[in-house]
């Protein structure tokens, strides 16, 4: 049983207690505890269950690399699965539950899997659940889903109550890691005058140097760390951030850091997480190293921990792993753990060292403390079901014949250390195999490179393979010097010197004992979270998986939430051995950001709720909101679809709005319509290229409808052009087309016709535009007064005038998209709302009726006007729509002209626009196809046309539609059959709807109503 010692714990405040809950149990800890240290202090040995076999698991590490101690953290809206207990700071009221267990952590039904692991080897799912096919979906998958999986997903009915944000920073240098290497780098860069951001993922500076008893410049590391911090805090050019993890390094020095601003607070008023989006000229990765587990049988049992982690719990949090701890190692560093345990007054029955000799200063010190050191030995087995009760020792060189049993409650293991090279590798930095240390280290010749081909990441200290304290600061100093040199700075001042007892070389041990048979190998865990064992990787190799990337996916080695931080090197060493290839030739899998998982909230930042996405608002939007508009998204705008009154359906409202407009007067907020100014000596020439018809001949004061095509000839936008003066055109685009068409214009002007004298300006938002539509439109406007003569003679159809309507500054366009007498009036946006209100007042006696986009659509369809996006879909050319009249024959060229002359575009079999009227008066389904005889190569019914727009016309009291039909205009009066979504009765063909081909102009074909 682990417990809290009576003294010690440099990070905890023993004077205060914090209450928290784990699986409903009320427990206490101290400020400074992590959830993991607090659980261990409370004797909670089992903290979770493994993914596949549901094996009981305890804490194995003390930091970001922890694979086992994952919990469901928080409740309700703050519930989060898969949180690492080792990196979760304890706070008052913290509530956590264990994962992957049923019905309880101590007794788990799924543990039965563990009794039959030979049924679940690598690739088991792929091999077993193939046949019969339907079983996968209905039997196997539900079963596997129930037994596998880690944390519980948040309840979809809850909403995260916290807020999140981004933060943009530009800096010379980002330093990842606030251990002594990172601090040394910051000191050097700060003194050199560089702008520095130093990020440390934990809540404490100094890393593990204080735990390991390192001395710097002759004094304990703590003193130097405190002095370094004091100096750094005094530098204006240096920023220090705790609880901030550098999560990813991307091209061109883009760096993401994840700040857990308020994870250690119960209900914060601060943003919970902050995502730092950093532009850094250079990155210093001082990320340290991870200790590797040893692969011996039963190495996953609760109580078996990394030696360094056990030291951390002892020194940092005053937590004892148990009264008797056996240390098993292949290096000298682990002796520090034995010494620390002994000095804490606990027992170390023996140190099991796989090496044949251990005579360095640390082993000598251990022996002097009376700890037996057993060299050339190994662990053959770990006894105990829910935790360690004893280990059985054997010779490392042998097959595992047990020599003796050693009673103990805990095992500290150390298989050596691997530099944390993630940040070096994210952007393509290459690694070199260090045979002496048995690890991959950054290859200085192949750094990740920036735009100029120069490296932009350096690794400092242990992250660069300088594992011994005496090397760390010198290495960090040199690395920082390289980074500073790339910034054109030089490092002044001296680098501190750290010292610690010398260490003898380790001996690589990838399997313990080295000659273990299949039974033992099936109990040696490589990946604790995903239950991948030595036997699984060897099986993959036997089955032909030679690539480490393939083996990873086949066995799921390193694919859990810890991304193989502990299992990576051990796994590939086992694979290399099985393949008979050297380790560097097998290589590593790819390191990808983020370093550890970051929250979705941090990624989304502030973008939720009201600011999830910008919604563009017209100057009249407030009125629409207050008058119950039903909305339709159009680009980023929300336009009123219709204005339902009490008890009205949307359809009722649309019908009422149309009839009111056609019989008296309606009002449309057309402010969203794109408005682009085109001015210059070459404006006419430019307009003739943009539009298919002739625009240069348009007279000032007049309007003309035009079509715009892409280079490939396809219709991309339409609208009315007004000529303001000789040099100036005002282009109206569709609502969704404004930005796109403006960009299209600038593209041609900047890239192709750069010498034409044309300037454009997008003035869409300068104007509020209101369409006053219907037989009484003129009366309403005349009532407002002003200085513009609105008579038919003075302002005929397709003319425009500028002046005043009432007291409003206005441009009035006599254009109609409804077939009625219509004035589109533009006033400056600031006057838009007042103008709208004035129109409502003036029109009250005529029953003036605001209408929405659906009424607009129906009225234009009644007139046979096309709509971009309905009749066009990017494959339609103007000729398909019978718009030949809007295509100039006189012009030499316009954008799309040559494309429209290609054989496919002039093919007489292209489907052409017609009107469609159902025989029974019903509304055709949108997008329905006109069926033809026979079937195609895919056994689908042949088609001869499709519906592009279809509505109920309240004016004509029947369904009307437009569609594209093979030889349509030549087939007037012919009846077609259209498919529907109705189901076929048994044994019968699917029902169809019959519709007759008619002219697309259903209403006022002569255009008399708009020309009054």
């Amino acid at each position: 049983m682990s417990t809290r010692l009576s003294e010690g714990g440099r990070l905890i405040d023993r004077s205060r207690k914090i209450a928290f809950r784990f699986d409903g149990k009320r427990l206490t800890g101290h400020p400074g505890d992590t959830l993991a240290s607090a659980l261990m202090a409370n004797g909670q040995r089992i903290v979770g269950r493994s993914f596949k076999y549901h094996r009981p698991r305890g804490v194995v590490a003390s930091g970001a690399e922890e694979p086992n101690a994952l919990v469901n953290l928080g409740e309700g809206g703050r519930h989060e699965p898969n949180q690492r207990a080792t990196t979760t700071e304890l706070f008052e009221g913290l509530a956590a539950t264990s994962q992957n267990r049923w019905p309880s952590l101590d007794f788990d039904i799924g543990e039965v899997n563990a009794l039959i692991p030979r049924f679940l080897p690598a690739g088991f799912y792929y091999k077993t659940f193939i046949h019969p096919r339907p079983f996968w979906k209905h039997v196997f998958e539900p079963f596997i889903r129930h037994s596998a999986g880690l944390g519980r997903a948040p309840d979809p009915r809850t909403t995260d109550p916290d807020r999140y944000e981004h933060f943009y920073v530009h800096t010379d240098l980002v330093i990842a890691g606030g251990g002594i290497a990172g601090l040394q780098a910051a000191l050097e860069a700060g003194r050199a005058g560089a702008k520095v951001l130093l990020c440390e993922q934990t809540a404490h500076w100094g890393g593990r140097a204080p735990v390991d008893g390192v001395e710097i410049d002759g004094a304990p590391a703590e003193a130097w760390i405190a002095a370094a911090l004091a100096e750094l805090e005094g530098m204006e050019n240096v920023h220090l951030r705790l609880r901030t993890m550098v999560a990813g390094v991307y091209d061109h020095g883009y760096v993401i850091a994840y700040e857990r601003v308020a994870d250690h607070v119960a209900a914060p008023d601060a943003p919970r997480h902050r995502l730092w989006r950093i532009r850094a000229a250079q990155v210093v990765s001082a990320t340290g190293a991870f200790e590797r587990p040893l692969s011996f049988p039963g190495n996953d049992k609760p109580g078996v921990m990394l030696a360094s982690a056990m030291r951390d719990y002892l020194v940092n949090w005053g937590v004892s792993p148990g009264d008797r701890t056996v240390v098993v190692t292949n290096n000298d560093d682990a002796y520090r753990t034995a010494i620390a345990i002994r000095k804490a007054g606990l027992d170390v029955p023996c140190i099991v060292d796989a090496r044949d000799t251990a005579d360095g200063p640390l082993p000598q010190e251990a022996r002097a403390l009376g700890i037996p050191v057993k060299t050339g030995m190994a662990i053959a087995n770990v006894k105990g079901l829910r935790g360690v009760v004893a280990v059985q020792l054997c010779r490392q060189a042998g097959e595992g014949a047990v020599i003796e049993d050693v009673i103990c409650e805990a095992v500290a293991m150390s298989g050596g250390w691997s530099p944390v090279v993630h940040l070096w590798s994210h952007c393509g930095g290459k690694l070199a195999w260090d045979a002496g240390g048995a690890f991959f280290r950054p290859d200085h010749e192949k750094p990740p490179t920036s735009h100029d081909g120069e490296g932009f990441v350096v690794c400092a200290g242990a992250a660069d393979g300088a594992l011994h304290a005496s090397e760390v600061l010198g290495n960090a100093g040199a690395a920082t010097g390289r980074a500073l040199a790339r910034l054109g700075l030089s490092a002044p001042g001296r680098v501190a010197t750290a010292s610690a007892p010398d260490e003898a070389a380790l001996s690589p041990v990838w399997m313990m004992p080295q000659g273990a048979g299949p039974k033992k190998r099936a109990k040696m865990w490589l990946d604790f979270q995903n239950d991948v064992k030595v036997s699984d990787v060897q099986l993959a190799a036997r089955e032909g998986y030679e690539s480490v990337e393939h083996t990873k996916r086949y066995t799921t080695l390193g694919m859990a939430t810890d991304q193989g931080k502990l299992s990576n090197i051990n796994g590939l060493a086992v694979l290399a051995d099985a393949l008979g290839a050297p380790i560097p030739q097998v290589g590593t899998t790819t390191f990808r950001p983020p370093f550890t998982p970051i929250s979705m909230g941090a990624i989304a930042g502030e973008a939720r709720g009201a600011v999830f996405q910008p919604i563009r608002r017209t100057p009249i939007q407030d009125w629409h909101e207050r008058n119950g508009a039903a909305w339709e998204p159009v680009g980023h705008w929300r336009r009123p679809y219709c204005f339902p009154r009490d008890g009205e359906t949307k359809r009722d409202a649309v019908n009422r709005e149309i009839l009111a407009t056609r019989t008296s007067v309606g009002l449309l907020d057309a402010s969203t319509l794109g408005k682009i100014l085109v001015k210059g000596a070459d404006a006419g020439r430019f307009m003739d290229m943009l539009y298919t018809n002739m625009m240069s001949t348009l007279k000032p004061g007049r309007c003309r409808y035009g079509l715009m095509c892409s280079e490939n000839g396809f219709l991309m936008d339409d609208g009315v052009v007004a000529r303001l003066d000789d040099e100036t055109f005002l282009v109206h685009t569709t609502t969704g087309g404004a930005d796109r068409i403006h960009a299209h214009m600038e593209d041609w002007l900047q890239c192709e016709w750069w010498d034409w004298k044309v300037y454009t300006a997008n003035v869409t938002e300068q104007w509020a535009q209101v369409a006053v539509v219907g037989p009484n439109a003129r009366k309403v406007l005349e009532k407002l007064g002003g200085d513009i003569d609105l008579s038919k003679e003075a302002l005929p159809f397709m003319a425009w005038a500028e002046g005043r309507i009432g007291g409003f500054d206005a441009r009035v366009f006599r254009i109609s998209f409804s077939g009625e007498l219509s004035f589109e009036v533009a006033v400056p946006a600031s006057q838009g709302r007042a103008f709208w209100d004035a129109l409502l007042d003036a029109g009250a006696e005529f029953g003036i009726t605001p209408y929405g986009t659906e009424a607009l659509h129906v009225m234009r369809a009644e007139k046979g006007f096309i709509m971009i996006g309905d009749e066009t879909d990017g494959t339609v050319i103007p000729q398909d729509l019978g718009l030949d009249w809007a295509i100039s024959k006189k012009k030499d060229d316009y954008l799309g002209k040559r494309a429209q002359e290609r054989a496919h575009m002039t093919d007489p079999a292209r489907w052409k626009l017609v009107g469609l009227e159902t025989l029974d008066g019903s509304v055709l389904p949108d997008g329905a196809y006109a069926i033809a005889e026979g079937v195609n190569d895919n056994a689908q019914r042949n088609t001869q046309g499709r519906v592009t727009s279809t509505y109920w016309s309240p004016t004509l009291e029947k369904g009307i539609a437009m569609g594209l039909v093979l030889n349509g205009p030549d087939r007037m009066g012919e009846v077609l059959e259209f498919n529907t979504t109705r189901k076929a009765a048994r044994g019968e063909d699917a029902p169809t709807v019959k519709a007759r081909i008619v002219s697309p102009v259903f209403y006022d074909a002569q255009g008399e109503k708009q020309d009054v």
Partner: protein, 187 residues
């Protein structure tokens, strides 16, 4: 009809670690021209000199900001913008140019507060390098999902200009970023 003219969010205000306020109606004129030959006309109409790249200059009740190699933004009284655009058109007669009143296409906000907090709040929403932005220099940038321009009026006041249709989004964004508890302590 200026008495009926309304800015995008009249009177909108929010407090927190900095204060955010919509500034009401603001005159703005876009001028596109060959800037190498437009200085005289600019001086005549606005009283301001031609700004350097990303710079701003002061005139008589006006301010001129550099927008792009062939575009300027002139800030003036809302009621004077129309006349300003016509004046520029007149002064640049015979020279290729475009001058247009865009006052109502925009919204403007003022952010005031302690210098560090001010930059911290802005750094939550703009990728621009604020430390490199001297007072009197205008930066065209983005405020998260929309286009905007910003400059420091002084050490303790920043101005933000955005399109009118997204004024509510920008106000909400700034107000959220300025909320109490959100201090970063970086700048």
């Amino acid at each position: 009809m200026s008495d009926l003219a309304r800015s995008a969010l009249p009177g909108a205000e929010a407090g927190g670690i900095v204060s955010v306020r919509e500034m009401g109606l603001q005159g703005m004129v876009t001028l596109r021209a060959d800037l190498s030959v437009a200085a005289k006309a600019l001086k005549k109409v606005t009283g301001a000199a031609m700004p350097e790249v990303r710079g701003m200059t002061e005139g008589e009740g006006t301010r001129v900001a550099w927008m792009s190699p062939d575009e300027l933004l002139i800030l003036c009284d809302h009621s004077a913008a129309g006349e300003m655009a016509r004046g520029l058109t007149e002064a640049l007669k015979g020279q290729h140019h475009l001058a247009v009143d865009v006052s109502d296409a925009r919204a403007m906000f003022s952010l005031t507060g302690e210098a560090g907090a001010l930059r911290d709040v802005l750094a939550k929403v703009t990728p621009a390098d604020l430390a490199a932005l001297a007072p009197g220099e205008m930066r065209r940038t983005r405020l998260q999902q929309v286009a905007a321009a910003l400059w420091f009026e002084s050490g303790t006041e920043a101005r933000v200009v955005c399109f009118r249709s997204v004024a509510q989004y920008v106000f909400d964004l700034l107000a959220l970023s300025a909320k109490d508890g959100g201090a970063v302590g970086y700048h």
